[in-house]
């Protein structure tokens, strides 16, 4: 065995260039494979599993998926509005509803979504079991009567807004420099990082959305523009969605009956995880394609091992003959080649972790900017050990064909010098 290891070490060094290239291609393949599986499982977990803090969302009549994407993940445009009275009804008349929080969207600041809500989002809502949104030292929740804002950590990073800074909201979900609202908001709090989509949100009092210049309320079906001083009658108010925390899943099924089956104004998305799971199952083919690409790269890199070692066999026939003349057996020479290709795969897999780290770093950055969801490279996924393991096995397998050639080297013929 020591003989085999010495032979392998020397060969790897003698063919340093092709060794390096093959190791790099293995690294890429294994890094890519680990990334595809890890990102897939982490994003699935982040979007469908786990605790979102809410059990259901009520919004405009339409797609449940759009409703969930819009309210829970702050993606896509709002499908429309529902009357404020539906919110108060849900809040006050259903004992099964533990917490109802209204959401009003429609504005942004530099592309960061502005969500109008009630201070309950800070005082009562738990985004994970036992965890409320925390506001960093020096800040506080907004006061409902003032033009105040609390910004998420990603917003603070991206816009550079600090405590006490003021800004003007822009109309629409996407940033349009011409759509600037004249109202000026003051940052009174910066949220601690939650690693959830809320990190990308600017929270303001819901009243602020109602009163924003140019906003029209259609709670009664007729257009209504808020008066600067007078209170807005509840009947005119409308919200994009109401987030619900329920006392039990049964309440959800009851609401489903009432809102989705019998009602005509609104849509209830419940349970949120199931709605998202539907999405993941619908886009499952994208994942299959990514997996296929990863496997293809793995296959090509394994073929690269075979080719690079196969090419060295001819020039090494004399070496094999000499080793055999020194007493090495055929199977020793065979093993040396298989071990060599397994070693290349092992080295590649090792470097693959660097590759994986780099891919995840970039992916995590993009995903966090786009969704607020944080991917973690160190989250243990079975692919993180199965891939290197499979790679080494595949590497050993890739060595078999060259090894057979080495195995069948004729000793007497190759001991003599050849031109």
């Amino acid at each position: 065995m020591r003989g085999i290891l010495l032979i392998v070490r020397r060969s790897l060094r003698q063919h340093l260039f092709s060794t390096t290239i093959t190791v790099l291609s293995i690294a890429l393949a294994s890094g890519l494979t680990m990334s595809v599986f890890s990102i897939q499982s982490q994003s699935r977990e982040a979007f469908t599993g786990g605790d979102l803090g809410f059990d259901a969302v009520v919004g405009a009549r339409g797609s449940q998926l759009q409703l969930v994407l819009n309210t829970v993940f702050h993606l896509e445009t709002s499908p429309g509005n529902i009357p404020w009275t539906l919110y108060t009804e849900l809040r006050d008349k259903y004992p099964g509803v533990e917490l109802a929080i209204p959401y009003a969207t429609g504005d942004n600041y530099m592309g960061n979504r502005i969500v109008g809500s009630t201070p309950e989002i800070f005082t009562k809502f738990e985004y994970k079991k036992g965890r409320k949104y925390a506001i960093l030292e020096g800040g506080r929740p907004f006061d409902e009567g003032y033009a105040e804002a609390v910004i998420g950590s990603v917003v603070s990073e991206q816009t550079g807004l600090k405590l006490g800074d003021t800004f003007n909201p822009f109309h629409g979900i996407y940033f349009d420099p011409n759509a600037r609202h004249p109202e000026e908001y003051t940052v009174v709090g910066i949220m601690d990082t939650t690693n959830t989509p809320s990190d990308r949100v600017i929270w303001i009092p819901i009243e602020g959305i109602f009163r924003m210049t140019g906003h029209v309320l259609r709670g009664t079906g007729e257009q209504f523009t808020a008066d600067a001083v007078a209170a807005i009658p509840d009947a005119h108010k409308e919200v994009s969605a109401v987030m619900l925390k329920l006392k039990s899943p049964q309440v959800g099924w009851q609401l489903d009956q009432m809102i989705n089956k019998q009602g005509k104004v609104a849509t209830l998305a419940h349970p949120i995880g199931t709605v998202m799971l539907d999405l993941f199952n619908k886009v499952g083919w994208v994942n299959r394609i990514l997996e296929l690409v990863a496997y293809l790269v793995v296959f090509v890199s394994a073929a690269a091992i075979t080719a690079s070692i196969y090419n060295t066999i001819n020039e090494r026939k004399r070496e094999f003959a000499i080793l055999r003349a020194l007493g090495a057996r055929r199977r020793t020479v065979f093993s040396a080649i298989v071990v060599e290709s397994a070693c290349i795969a092992a080295l590649g897999s090792l470097c693959g972790f660097v590759c994986y780290g780099a891919i995840l770093l970039v992916a995590a950055q993009v995903v966090r900017q786009q969704t607020g969801v944080v991917l973690n490279a160190t989250t243990l996924h079975p692919s993180l050990y199965l891939t290197p393991l499979g790679m080494v096995l595949l590497g050993a397998l890739s060595g078999v064909i060259p090894a057979i050639r080495a195995y069948s080297t004729d000793v007497a013929e190759n001991l003599a010098p050849h031109s």
Binding site: G3, A325, L326, G327, A328, A412, P417
Partner: protein, 227 residues
């Protein structure tokens, strides 16, 4: 007891034209332990083939090759490999050093397939052949004479009972040839190994007390082969 006993040894090759030609046909040949034997033979007379048969690299068509009473010819290939790893040393005309390896590694590889590597002994051997300060040099960084001395050290690394030397001085100038031969004989004598040397170089052969004509031994080329 004899170290080596050969009886009715025959080996032929299929020539490119397709016909079978007999290359080695030796009715009898023996060596005693520690004996030094030189065989004189012209190029193409089957010397290398003969040594390869003894070393178990080639399998004879017929006959017996007994090393300490055990018939090598009847053994499987891996058994012959193992005997070669443990009982034979081989010195080649072209040295056949492994290019990617240092002098020391070449010598230790000479033991790794047998009883196992013994670095101290490898160093001692390189010392003995005068390469104490060249242990970590690669073959390309050594002169031809030095390369052959590494090869000699390697051949003795596994404590062989028999050292086979195939025109070991063929690539050396007369002065170095004489020196290398003296070294081989000395080191074989010291370790008690028998030496079977084949050559066509009279300058080498005259250093042995007696010298056998290979053509007298091998009937394949003298027309004496029966049938």
């Amino acid at each position: 007891m004899n170290l080596l006993e050969i009886e009715q040894l025959r080996k032929g090759f299929r020539a490119p034209t397709g016909e079978q030609t007999l290359i080695v046909d030796i009715p009898a040949f023996t060596m005693t332990p520690g004996q030094h034997v030189a065989l004189r033979g012209a190029s193409g007379s089957g010397k290398t083939t003969f040594l390869n048969l003894i070393a178990g690299i080639l399998k004879p068509d017929q006959g017996q090759i007994r090393l300490e009473g055990r018939d090598i010819a009847a053994l499987s290939e891996s058994q012959r490999d193992s005997i070669r790893a443990n009982s034979f040393g081989y010195v080649f005309q072209t040295f056949n050093l492994l290019q990617g390896y240092t002098a020391l590694e070449n010598v230790t590889l000479g033991m790794m397939f047998g009883k196992g590597s013994d670095r101290a002994y490898a160093e001692q051997l390189l010392h003995k052949v005068g390469l104490a300060d060249r242990m970590h040099y690669r073959p390309r960084q050594l002169s031809v004479g030095q390369q052959q001395r590494v090869a000699v050290a390697r051949a003795l690394a596994n404590h062989p009972k028999l050292v086979l030397a195939d025109e070991p001085t063929g690539n050396l100038d007369p002065v170095h040839a004489r020196e290398a031969l003296r070294l081989i004989r000395e080191i074989c004598a010291e370790s008690g190994a028998a030496l079977l040397l084949v050559s066509h170089d009279e300058g080498v052969l005259e250093q042995f007390d007696s010298c056998t004509d290979f053509l007298g031994l091998n009937r394949a080329f003298t027309g004496g082969a029966g049938g």
